[in-house]
């Protein structure tokens, strides 16, 4: 199993990762790196800029009110207003704030403080109980809160064109397209606390934005020159069982999408054209944090905030379940939909799960470890020791499953692996201190090679072109007749972390890890 000590040293101070060539990441000076990227990408280069206007984070709106409100009301009025605006808890808080307002008020204030303390104790006691609704929900927080203060918090590439949607911290989305100076700004009163954005496959113009009130479907005419699409371009798809949205995923053909949300464990599938929905699963397991449709459309991965994950087959929606030692943090399907890579919230280990085509889910009994991502100290090119690895924040796999990027929660490096799912898995990593990567996304419409877009904590988006000759077939050119349908597996298996790699055989292949030449992956 590969670990992060196999990495090549990161570049020294003042250098950034600019591109990948001959299987190695190259670092250059900041200005040179940008120039090189522009030269490599030519007309396809998209500069993601914030613009002139200041971007205010969506979660600081409450504080402004305090600066301007004149406190001319009586304390009782303030309590009433607090109750109307924010509920009974806020009114009790407001009651405690008032001082020297008479004996009756003092008694009420004392009672309020006692009630609040009792409530606090009850809340603490509830937190101690093992409730699935409360456990690990870092994946469900809005993107803005997951960012680290920069203006851009996430990017999503269009599956077929050179178009990139960027989520800003003020809950707006801007769409950048190569060769177009117009960047439409998507803003709506219902678009609050964005958790997920995804472009619809096989469409030029449709984008789903998962937010507090449901899924907002934006229809953006590609030849339109309007910079601020109106409210008529939006339609809201909200199911009471799936609001606020935690995660959403498009069917690979685009007509359907699955979404999950709220504190219940219901899985909702929408027909986008007819705007009709159906709850395909409602069971136990706590709230669902992540859904992913496999690229061959036959399976749907569902991660729960409790320590289980399920994979559904999408014909009659039966499932197989795996128990975990910690809730899922991030997961990715391989391009052919036969392999699932995932990481949990606490273990710095990359796992894989193979699937055998045929009736039912067909998952292997146990997940195997493929990479040890434990935090380690490595020396950079200048000889300074830097920390790499730890618990993982996000995984991203390119369209051909040849490059896998990993962002860590506590350390400042993006690790890049060269992967080959037929039959082996290669790895090669990098990163840089000072700035923290927030999220990563691969461009999806490239005929060969890859472009990785990294959102740094400063709000900058860096594109890293990767030139390589592909060894993996694209999903569309796969001949399904080559699938071996003779192997079946049982379900409800327990995840065993200590299984040697070569135990799972068959079509899914056994990802044998091998250290590759380490590359460096740095921020500008």
């Amino acid at each position: 199993m590969i670990n992060l000590e196999h990495l090549h040293p990161p570049p020294g101070c003042g250098h950034v990762t600019a591109y990948e060539n001959d299987g190695r990441l190259r670092a250059l000076h900041v200005t040179e790196a940008l120039e090189t990227t522009k030269k490599w990408l030519g007309g396809q280069f998209i500069e993601v800029t914030v613009g002139q206007e200041p971007v205010r984070t969506a979660h600081s709106k409450q504080e402004a009110r305090e600066a301007f409100s004149a406190h001319t009301e009586t304390p009782w009025q303030r309590v009433m207003f607090a109750y109307y605006e924010e509920g009974w808890e806020a009114s009790l808080q407001e009651m405690i704030k008032g001082k020297d307002e008479g004996s009756l008020y003092q008694v009420a204030s004392t009672m309020a403080s006692v009630i609040l303390k009792v409530c606090g104790i009850i809340a603490k006691a509830q937190a101690l109980l093992p409730s699935p609704k409360r456990s690990g929900s870092s994946a469900n927080t809005p993107l803005v809160l997951r960012g680290s203060g920069g203006s851009i918090v996430s990017v999503a590439w269009h599956p077929h064109t050179n178009t990139l949607a960027a989520v800003f911290c003020d809950d707006t989305v801007r769409v950048f397209a190569a060769g177009r100076s117009i960047t439409p700004l998507l803003k709506h009163r219902l678009q609050k606390s964005i958790t997920h954005i995804a472009w619809m496959p096989y469409s030029a113009s449709l984008m789903a934005v998962g937010c507090e009130c449901g899924v907002l479907l934006w229809t953006l005419d590609p030849v339109n020159v309007v910079t601020r699409p109106s409210g008529s371009c939006v339609s809201l798809l909200a199911h009471p069982s799936a609001t606020p949205i935690n995660s959403l995923t498009w069917h690979p053909k685009g007509n359907l999408f699955a979404c999950v949300g709220g504190s219940n464990s219901q899985l909702v599938v929408w027909d986008v054209g007819r705007e009709a929905s159906v709850v395909v699963h409602s069971g136990t397991g706590g709230n669902i944090s992540l859904v992913l449709w496999s690229p061959d459309s036959s399976r749907l991965f569902v991660a729960y905030s409790s320590k289980i994950m399920r994979v559904f087959e999408t014909r009659s929606w039966t499932y197989e379940q795996w128990s975990l030692e910690s809730p899922i943090q991030s997961a990715v399907w391989s391009s052919l939909g036969h392999l699932l890579l995932f990481v949990t919230q606490d273990d710095p280990v990359l796992y894989y799960l193979g699937f055998i085509p045929g009736e039912g889910v067909g998952g292997t009994q146990v997940a195997a470890q493929v990479a040890d991502l434990t935090q380690t100290l490595v020396s950079d090119e200048d000889g300074e020791e830097v920390s790499v690895g730890g618990p993982v924040k996000q995984l991203a796999w390119d369209i051909r499953s040849e490059r896998l990027a990993i962002v860590f929660r506590d350390t400042e490096f993006v690790v890049l692996f060269h992967t080959h799912t037929h039959p082996t898995l290669h790895l090669a990593p990098g990163g840089e201190p000072c700035q923290v990567p927030v999220s990563v996304s691969f461009q999806k419409n490239l005929p060969n090679g890859a472009v990785l877009s990294v959102v740094w904590s400063s709000g900058q988006v860096q594109h890293i072109p990767m030139r390589y000759s592909s060894r993996e077939p694209l999903p569309s050119t796969l001949n399904t007749s080559t699938f071996n349908t003779s192997i079946r597996t049982t379900h409800n298996s327990i995840l065993n972390c200590s299984v040697p790699l070569n135990t799972s055989m068959g079509y899914a292949g056994s990802p044998v890890t091998s250290p590759l030449i380490g590359g460096i992956f740095t921020s500008p």
Binding site: S203, P222, V223, L256, G273, A276, V279, D296
Partner: protein, 553 residues
């Protein structure tokens, strides 16, 4: 045997039976348990859980109660009969107000609404008689001294009939009888579980007349009617005020809520069972000898049929065509050729009905919106046909008799000028287009299926059976898209977040545009620049070019 008959006798009949069995189990056992519990705890004031449980169990096998089970069973059979006879697969869109009134006043609708109301009244009486000893069963006569007995019976029966009327109006006039398959098909148990959730039951109460306002309204109407009757017959109207007693109110509420939930569950469970997908074989053993039997249980025949079978056949075709590897074996059958002979029978059997449906739909739209685009029918020369002649062979100039239908149309047109008749007979806005789009669901699935099959043929079609027809398919798609786009945007718009839903026909119009675009993008993305080399019209080619460049939004 025709595919429709086969479908009715072998598939649909069993679905009805299973739906009814499931409903009886769900709706008789569960409400009986609720009512018995109420009877034990509230009426008899027994609070010991062991006694309550034993009472519940013994009451279920009590002979009189078992006898009473005949009543709900009969009610459900009546309701099932009405549902089986009245469901439809395309929404009803009235062209003018007269059509609306005609439907309201039609004998069938009145008769079926009456049946629903009777069934509901009986059910309400059944539920209350189970729950409280003061509420006797309909057939049990009241004791002479009991003043309230008769009034309680009438109030409950009236409220039952009222909820039934609410349901029947929604069912017949507001497309409550429309049956459309759900976007995904999980197990039936899951769907039933979802329809039993607290949220759906609350929604059911609101929609089927068991909400507070409706309840009050019904009671007021009832009171007014009762007082009027008493005044006419010189009775003491004040005695009717005694119906405002707490147990009666409680029982009325319980009965209406249970009834509303029962009706909603009935329609949902019926819907779930009827729209269950059916897998129709692409090719059968008879295919090797096509002259042996022409009408058989095959996908191509089912696609050419009508109604529910056609809808389910197109759903099956759509599933078959999707990229799911599990359907690979069935897709292979579509692309195979007959042995001997090498004819692509299966593909043609699928493509022809689908294309016919798409073309006919396109023609209907064109005929109404842009008749000038339609190809002109060949003009018959005046002298070519045998003209009427007299005995001397001279042509007789005699105007042909005007058929009755034309005269009726002319009469209606002339009546429209008068305001009173105009109100009823003038067309409602966009009604014709809406009525056409109400039947668009199979067209949408045909478009999706053909798009997916053409895409799949790129890698899976070994004999090239599809490639000859790709230009035709693309031209049909682009033509239909031109017509649909030419209609402009949907006139009724709504603001997101207001919770309003578009009428189903307008939603289908949106869905058709959406699926056409999606299908064309799927084909152009898979085939790339090759599509430009296909022999298609110049207009279609320019459209494909813009699809290749992702400029169609």
């Amino acid at each position: 045997m025709k595919p429709e008959d086969l479908f009715s006798s072998e598939v649909l009949l069993w679905r009805y039976v299973r739906a009814l069995a499931c409903l009886l189990l769900l709706q008789v056992v569960a409400p009986m348990a609720v009512c018995n519990l109420y009877h034990t705890v509230v009426a008899q004031r027994i609070l010991n859980p062991i006694t309550v449980t034993t009472n519940l169990l013994t009451s279920c096998i009590y002979p009189t109660k078992l006898l009473r089970l005949v009543v709900p069973a009969a009610c459900f059979v009546i309701l099932a009969r009405v549902h089986i006879k009245s469901y439809t697969v395309s929404a009803w869109v009235p062209l003018n107000r007269w059509e609306k009134w005609r439907r309201v006043l039609s004998l069938t609708v009145i008769l079926r609404s009456g049946l629903i109301m009777i069934a509901c009244a009986l059910l309400a009486n059944f539920y209350t008689s189970l729950a409280h000893p003061d509420f006797p069963f309909l057939v049990i006569p009241c004791t002479p001294g009991d003043v309230m007995c008769y009034k309680r019976k009438t109030v409950i029966i009236y409220m039952g009939a009222y909820v039934g009327y609410h349901y029947a109006y929604k069912y017949f006039m507001l497309n409550g009888n429309l049956i459309t398959p759900t976007p995904a098909h999980p197990r039936k148990l899951q769907l039933i579980k979802a329809s039993l959730s607290l949220r759906s039951t609350r929604e059911a109460c609101n929609t089927h007349g068991a909400n507070k306002l409706s309840f009050l309204c019904a009671i007021c109407i009832y009171m007014a009617a009762a007082i009027m009757i008493n005044l006419i017959y010189d009775g003491n109207w004040q005695e009717w005020l005694v119906i405002f007693d707490l147990p009666l109110m409680m029982m009325t509420l319980l009965a209406t809520v249970l009834l509303a939930i029962s009706l909603s569950l009935f329609s949902q469970v019926f819907h779930i069972f009827i729209t269950e997908p059916v897998e129709i074989p692409v090719a059968t053993a008879e295919d090797s000898n096509p002259e042996a039997e022409t009408d058989s249980w095959r996908l191509s025949n089912a696609l050419s049929s009508s109604g529910l079978l056609q809808l389910l056949a197109f759903w099956d075709l759509k599933t078959l065509a999707s990229s799911d590897p599990m359907n690979f074996a069935r897709r292979t059958q579509v692309f195979c050729i007959s042995q001997p002979g090498g004819h692509p029978r299966n593909w043609m059997g699928i493509m022809n009905p689908s294309m016919n449906l798409i073309r006919k739909f396109c023609e209907r739209l064109k005929r109404h919106n842009c008749p000038e685009d339609l190809p002109k029918p060949p003009v018959v020369p005046a002298g070519a046909a045998s003209a009427p002649t007299d005995v001397n062979k001279n042509e007789v100039v005699k105007p042909p008799p005007v058929p009755f239908k034309e005269r009726a149309v002319k009469l209606i047109m002339s009546l429209k000028r008068y305001p009173f008749f105009g109100y009823f007979l003038s067309d409602l806005p966009d009604a014709t287009n809406r009525s056409i789009f109400a039947e668009a669901l199979p067209v949408i699935w045909a478009v999706q299926a053909l798009g997916d099959l053409v895409t799949a043929s790129f890698t899976e079609d070994k004999f090239g059976v599809v490639q000859r027809n790709i230009p035709d398919i693309l031209m049909a798609f682009t033509q239909l898209q031109k017509v649909v786009d030419g209609l402009g945007r949907v006139t009724i718009s709504r603001r997101p977040g207001t919770g309003e839903a578009l009428p189903s026909e307008l939603q289908l119009r949106k869905a058709l545009r959406f699926s056409l675009r999606s299908a064309l993008y799927t084909v152009t993305t898979t085939f790339g620049d090759t599509v430009l080399a296909m022999p298609v019209s110049a207009e279609c080619q320019s459209k494909l070019q813009s699809y290749l460049q992702f400029k169609e939004g």
